[in-house]
């Protein structure tokens, strides 16, 4: 059951008690989130029903298309910053032309998915947590349960599918725009011609870089949805609780993005 009974625990005694409780609670939350993720993945067998399709498309629209504007700006500027920073350093060795490779590789491997992840966690993840939190507070989730409509299938699955598809797509979009942004800086600030930049960018990046980035996007999508939905369902204490859940969802997503991003890089490149 996804709806939670209100819980009460006597305040912990001393420092050790507080730490111990923190550890146990974190483990429990992680476990619950994991179970929810498994349930949601199992529920994907319903994803081709008419209603689920509709809902998934809607969620993709909300998550992806609605965040395109901010992602565009962030992506272009990320690429520009990368190009400028590496360009300034490389200029010391007369190697400005290599910003193409630098921007392409770092965008594909890390910055593209990571920036997308951050933005989606901040825009979409917080929205998911707030929405589900509000639903919990206004008993809508309980209503679903009583109607025997599985909230995980009804609420989490479409979001999970939508985000799992949309995050890598947006990550790729971010990469492309970032590379274009880098090219603009290269052409206007560093004196690297567009042609040389593109040539350099495409010559040394690897298909592996591209697909590791896409894989990161998929993982980030799953993380953001799982964390946000879980925090939403864990909401208690009315409107204040919704605020807390939203905040917690964004913070946890950020941390997990960083950690998982590192681990994937470690897995594929070391």
């Amino acid at each position: 059951m996804i709806t939670r009974e209100p819980e009460f625990f006597p305040p912990p005694k001393g420092m050790l008690g507080r730490i111990g409780r923190g550890v146990i609670f974190s483990c429990r939350e992680a476990g619950l989130a994991g179970i929810m993720l498994v349930q949601a993945i199992l529920a994907t067998r319903f994803m081709f029903t008419r209603r689920a399709r509709r809902e998934i498309i809607d969620q993709m629209f909300m998550a992806g298309i609605k965040s395109l504007k901010v992602i565009t700006v962030v992506a272009v500027f990320t690429g520009m910053i990368l190009a400028l920073q590496t360009g300034i350093e490389l200029r010391k060795f007369n190697q400005e032309v290599n910003i193409g490779t630098a921007v392409m590789v770092s965008m594909l491997r890390e910055m593209g998915p990571f920036m997308t992840g951050l933005i989606l966690a901040a825009c979409v993840g917080s929205a998911i947590a707030a929405q589900i939190g509000t639903m919990v507070v206004s008993e809508e989730v309980a209503a679903l349960e009583i109607m025997s409509i599985d909230p995980v299938r009804f609420l989490v699955m479409p979001r999970l599918v939508a985000m799992t598809i949309m995050t890598p797509a947006l990550a790729f979009y971010t990469c492309i725009l970032g590379v274009i942004g880098g090219g603009i800086v290269g052409a206007t600030q560093l004196g690297v011609s567009w042609q040389a930049y593109i040539d350099n960018a495409t010559r040394f990046a690897d298909v592996k870089d591209l697909y590791v980035g896409i894989l990161k996007g998929v993982l980030f999508g799953i993380i953001i949805t799982t964390v946000s939905c879980h925090e939403g369902f864990a909401t208690t204490q009315g409107a204040v609780g919704v605020g807390l859940s939203t905040r917690q969802a964004v913070v946890t997503s950020f941390l997990l993005l960083l950690i998982v991003g590192y681990m994937v890089t470690r897995l594929f490149y070391v």
């Binding site: 498309i57 809607d58 629209f61 979009y173 495409t202 010559r203 040394f204 690897d206 298909v207 896409i214």
Partner: protein, 332 residues
């Protein structure tokens, strides 16, 4: 009302669908570009055998005369070495003295296969597979040479020699600056010392000349990079300045004349050592000489020269004689 609703649903679907299609198309396009596979061009296979490929990877470029002409398809480890199977978009004919090697692409890393077709007048070779030249491990070579140098220097007492020489030179310079009267005697009574210094300078100049012609690695280095050459010539110029100063002392510093034979002997010894070093260098004997003639020392030497230059900048204010010695010291 309902029609409007359906319309909105359709719009959403179309937008999401269009976005996904664009992304998928882009993804496909990038996959093709980044895999560097020419899918619609007939390709010529090339099989090169290497003892060591230095981390060459599938999909790396094959470059001929600086132009990318294909990609490495795959690497196979066989009994006789590593076989690099490449696909070439434009065919290349290899002549007898062809060289195929693995090269580091940029300071950001990456490797590519460099093909040198060889001299066109030589006969064309056609084989099942070609032999690759083992990649150059510059850093490894340099480390070995430096180790050898260090060993040689310590065992043969060269460092000690140099230290003595330099100390003596410095001593002399100090005394000259302090005006102990040696200079006049040195220059007026006995020409040997001056001649010795002049000879050293000449020898050094000859080396420089040889280097300039690009006869050895350093030469190549210098002809590539004007700056280092200039530095070296500047050093020689400094040396010449010593001589000139000594020379000018003949007329104006006569009053400095004294009977300090000890110092005179010191200076004579010191200059003789310097001369010996320069001669050895020229003949290509000894470690420094080898260093100059050995092609594998490119890196090591270029850094040494740079260091020497830096040291020299620092010592510019000091007397030219100590500058001269510092070049040799900077080398170690």
């Amino acid at each position: 009302m309902r029609a409007k609703c359906i319309n909105r649903e359709l719009t959403t679907e179309v937008i999401v669908g269009a976005f996904m299609m664009t992304v998928l198309l882009g993804l496909g396009y990038f996959t093709i570009i980044l895999s560097r596979q020419a899918w619609f061009i007939e390709q010529q296979p090339l099989d090169v055998r290497f003892a060591h490929v230095m981390g060459l990877r599938d999909g790396d470029n094959v470059v001929c005369r600086g132009m990318p002409i294909g990609t490495v398809d795959r690497l196979e480890l066989r009994q006789d070495g590593v076989h690099v199977l490449a696909n070439l978009e434009s065919p290349v004919t290899l002549h007898e003295d062809y060289v195929i090697t693995v090269v580091t692409t940029s300071i950001l890393g990456g490797r590519h296969l460099e093909i040198n077709e060889g001299t066109h007048s030589l006969p064309i070779v056609e084989r099942e597979f070609y032999d690759g030249t083992p990649p150059y491990d510059l850093i490894g070579d340099a480390a070995a040479v430096v180790n050898g140098l260090r060993k040689g220097l310590v065992e043969e007492g060269t460092i000690e020699n140099f230290r003595k020489t330099s100390e003596q030179l410095r001593d002399i310079t100090t005394r000259i600056n302090e005006g102990e009267g040696l200079l006049g005697r040195l220059v007026s009574k006995d020409d040997t010392l001056y001649n010795d210094i002049a000879a050293s300078a000449k020898a050094l100049r000859e080396i420089t000349g040889r280097l300039q012609e690009g006869k050895s690695t350093i030469g190549k280095l210098l002809s590539d990079d004007d700056k280092i050459y200039k530095d070296l010539t500047a050093t020689v110029a400094s040396l010449r300045a010593v001589a000139e100063r000594l020379e000018s002392g003949k007329s104006t510093l006569g009053k400095l004349m004294s009977d300090d034979a000890e110092i005179y002997k010191d200076l004579a010894e010191a200059t003789a050592s310097a001369k010996r070093i320069a001669e050895n260098l020229e003949k290509g004997e000894g470690l420094i000489g080898r260093m100059l003639t050995d092609d594998s020392l490119y890196d090591d030497v270029s850094s040494t020269v740079k260091e020497a230059r830096d040291t020299m900048e620092d010592m510019r204010e000091a007397s030219p004689v100590s500058t001269f010695s510092s070049i040799f010291f900077g080398a170690f």
